[in-house]
Symmetry: D3
Subunit: 236 residues, 6 copies
């Protein structure tokens, strides 16, 4: 029934290639099916003004899509002169999600910027960015710990994300683009390795949903995030 | 226990003054406690390019805050030269929420723009904007129907929104600013008059939450939205 | 002869509601007929770089119009990415006008920003902004004096403004929108409570005028400003 | 008493060199003392959308200052990414002023853009731009008439402008920069060759003025504009 | 003598992986040493306004660098709100270079946009973009030919580019970043497979050079481009 | 054979009027045929952040064109809200070129900004800007030396530039606009008074060229630059 032939509760194939670029303190190329995102983590010895002197660290994220990551070429945001509303919304989400797994006291007064750039898109780019972004963050923090710059591990619980939705009347796990563009209801579920919730966003475009449907999507999401966290651990 | 002395499941006082401005096809000033939002609905005989010729209508929203709606003066976005990320995120949410209650075929090929401008802020401005925005939309559509420009009512199910969160360890309904700035977990719940869900956004900043907590917030939200829909109906 | 039935030298009804919003140090909603402007005054303990260390204070203004303050919806300036030429011109004028009534030595090295946001427009928004802006400024300065932060009153002479023009060949006081859009000559007259001139702007669009006509408009303006200053004093 | 040694009612030397650049349909370099402005007029067979199909013509203006036209280098507006408030205000004024002397029916449905670029500034640049801009316009319209593209002369009454102000307590004509930066009150007076008023802008910065003073400045302005119109006629 | 141990006239290792992304009509990941650029070619059935209706095709290019492609993180241009001067200069160069190898009549009235996004930078990114961009263009045109949309091959002579410079007093081929940042003189040489010149840019920063040195760099460039063209042909 | 009737190796008439504006530390109006550029040099006691404290000076340039410097009016860049790609490319070139002739240690920690504004364009504006910009720089540095602010002359070798190209199959010196718009190959050659090369940019648009042609253009350029350096020396 799914265009890809997957079962309702089946994830796409996930691969995470660490060290994809050499300059960043942490980097990986995450592939969730045909969605490919390059994630890099940059450590800087400065924090945003609003926490200067607090002793707390900060984790933030930026998101972008190459113009031809999609089926039709999109206008380059740098050429358009600003980031679109969707981009801004996604990068704020990624930053919030990653911070939920971080002990900012243990991190100390430094900032880690996670850049997520979509090289190829096939649905679920924000979730792949969070999952891959955590890996880049993990690798960067490993460097800090190895160098003795931080003592106790500031990454307290891994963070991963998956989308679920109602496709052709059925709750399905990990929407790809053909499903995503048809689904009347979809959601992004960001959770920790220990099964806690960080952020739940469920949304109906031109449709509505019930609490019962919501609970079924939650069940699928828990399964998916479990598999993603295993993939993260295998990679790092 | 709540700074305002309200019960855990008690909304702030809600008032809706319709016809607050005279030029718009529909307008109201909604007050949810000390949060005051001026909502106007504008009807135009044009639609965005991507639906031109489809026979479908469109509902969109814009959101703004006056510089001194808040305790400290914020920079005027027009002077800054762009809408901030938070503004963009909120106005996209309002538009999606309102469209969920609209039969776009019945509306016909026209656009209604709902402007939500916060005159005074005390937490929950996006929810008040959705609830008040629906009233402005209702009034504007009434004009279309009275004039015979649309035949069957395109507003199929009223839309309202409320925030809930975990404050001092307790699930509470309708966060005001002092609660909102302390709550580790909060959510926005957008529902219809008939009890269906349109959008659920639950988010933890520097914290996590369980499915059990999520369910308790859902219960509170259902109560709150019920009261808001009654207020909408009384006003229109 | 006037669309509103007013006499040639008759102002529209004026009302000033103080304390319209709660966060600002001073605020009012001024209504001059169907022109409604929300004015707030914000006190900050910083001044622009060019007077830092001089001991002098500064008063500045910003102006905006809600998108549907007018008969046809205007594009939101924040969305357009910049303030239009008309907006910039008006807010510079408001700032200059208010400063003319202020003893900047007595004010001390602090800045007061007056925000004038038009909720509903029916001609004369810049004049209403100046008249209402002075009231917001007065209320904010009262707070400073009550707190003992300034000793002698820095507001030396009240400032108010009115428009006059040649409509259907006749000099008329306080143009409303139907008159303003037809008048070949119009002017804005900013004066003090003691009858001094601060700024006179008379302009013909596709027309010219004589010194004699100019003098008649001046006479009307003196009458109008007198009434506005009385309304200011009654309100504060 | 004046820094330049001029009499109270004495203009600076005025020269107008026509044909200063070769591409424009009309051009001149106007020098009013040490204020030098290059004015060009461009004819285009298109009009702004709001008058398309009306048969009426349009005259508009743009204004700029070279970065080192002034004593201290100013930031280039193109590099800053926008025209400043002062620039926008001035170019709107120039356009309005020139249109007052034009019969837009006789001009026919075409647009003339007058560019005024200040090569060297010493006070009064907006007035010199209007006076010189009229000359460029005159030359461009002459070409249209010679080619038979317009039949009756659309330039019905020459337009010129001068500044006056209260300097050291005395009303003086044609302020140069040292006077302008000290004057508590100054004004720009735009008039026609036949002595009619187009625009009067009198403004006090940190000061006030009386109707009597205003009348004295008007007298000076009438004298100055008379001399400027003679210079325009001699040049064209 | 070279930091990498290469001979003076030795290129870095070159690899070209075609089909790196699936949506674009042509794509490759080119690696010149540690410089990695993702190149995609997009075909669109529209041309820029200035050639509409001419029957001629157009090839244009855009260039970008991921924020952490470099040793220190650079600000994302989309976030900065504009493309920097360096970016604009490079993408104009890439477009001009590629067009030199194209028969625009044979291409027909369509546009091909080549996007070059640097995933990892180590000197010579603009040259790698041109060399890889040609491969993406070749693959896209192959599709057009296979589909019968173009009859005769519009790619008349392959285009490739290499940098050379004076490093430590010696002319060297294919500068990497450590050399590039030290070289007083460097140049970019864009040539065709048949040995013709398209563009030569030699530049001294804080230095000068002689015609003799220029000739030596030209000799090196001819060798390098020959090898790059072989790599292009092997890949396509 | 040339539209202007000039010999293949003949420059246009060159004139340099120094002191064209009075505020700048150095200024000239350079005319190369009908190309007229106003160049000013501004000295400031500050340097860009990246060399602060280094003891080195900096020379930078900005370039602009008046809207009607060209045959058809171009949009004003300040109104468009940004400098176009061509402008950015040219001003970076001018800055690099001038710096090549400057001993930045001798200049000391100060910045000289050279503004080149094209009043009238007829081809070769960037070359005229460099040649005239050097004169403005020379005059400004003369002031510094006269005042004893710099001891040894920081201008070590004069810098000038000329364009050459293949027009109608023939190498020609100093392209004017009619030639420039037809030439398949053109180049800009920036050299010093002592015959050294600073920058060579040769480019074919829709064409290619050989090393032999390149050498012939180099020969012409050496002749032209020699004449320009003589004109510079005569003027200063």
């Amino acid at each position: 029934m799914r265009p890809s032939g997957r079962d309702l509760s089946e994830m796409r194939a996930v691969s995470i290639e660490t060290g994809f670029t050499k300059h960043a303190e942490g980097s990986c190329l995450i592939k969730v099916g045909a969605t490919h995102v390059l994630c890099t983590a940059t450590i800087e010895d400065r924090v945003p003004p609003f926490i200067k002197g607090s002793g707390l660290g900060w984790v933030t994220a930026e998101y972008g899509m190459l113009p031809r990551a999609t089926n039709t070429r999109m206008r380059r945001e740098a050429a358009a002169g600003k980031q679109g509303g969707r981009t801004v919304e996604i990068q704020r989400l990624i930053g919030r999600a990653l911070r939920a797994g971080v002990d900012r006291v243990a991190l100390g007064e430094r900032q880690i910027t996670v850049d997520c750039d979509v090289l190829q898109a096939d649905g679920g780019t924000r979730c792949a960015s969070i999952t891959g972004g955590w890996v880049a963050l993990r690798l960067a923090v490993n460097k800090l710990m190895k160098a003795g710059d931080v003592i106790s591990d500031p990454l307290v619980d891994p963070v991963a994300a998956v989308s679920c939705g109602i496709y052709a009347g059925q709750p399905v796990l990990d929407l790809d683009y053909p499903e995503d563009s048809e689904a009347g209801v979809d959601g992004n579920f960001i959770m920790t390795g220990s099964g806690k919730l960080i952020e739940v966003q469920m949304s109906a475009e031109g449709s509505v949903f019930s609490r019962d449907q919501m609970n079924k999507l939650m069940d699928l999401a828990e399964k998916g995030v479990g598999e993603l966290v295993s993939a993260q651990q295998a990679a790092t």
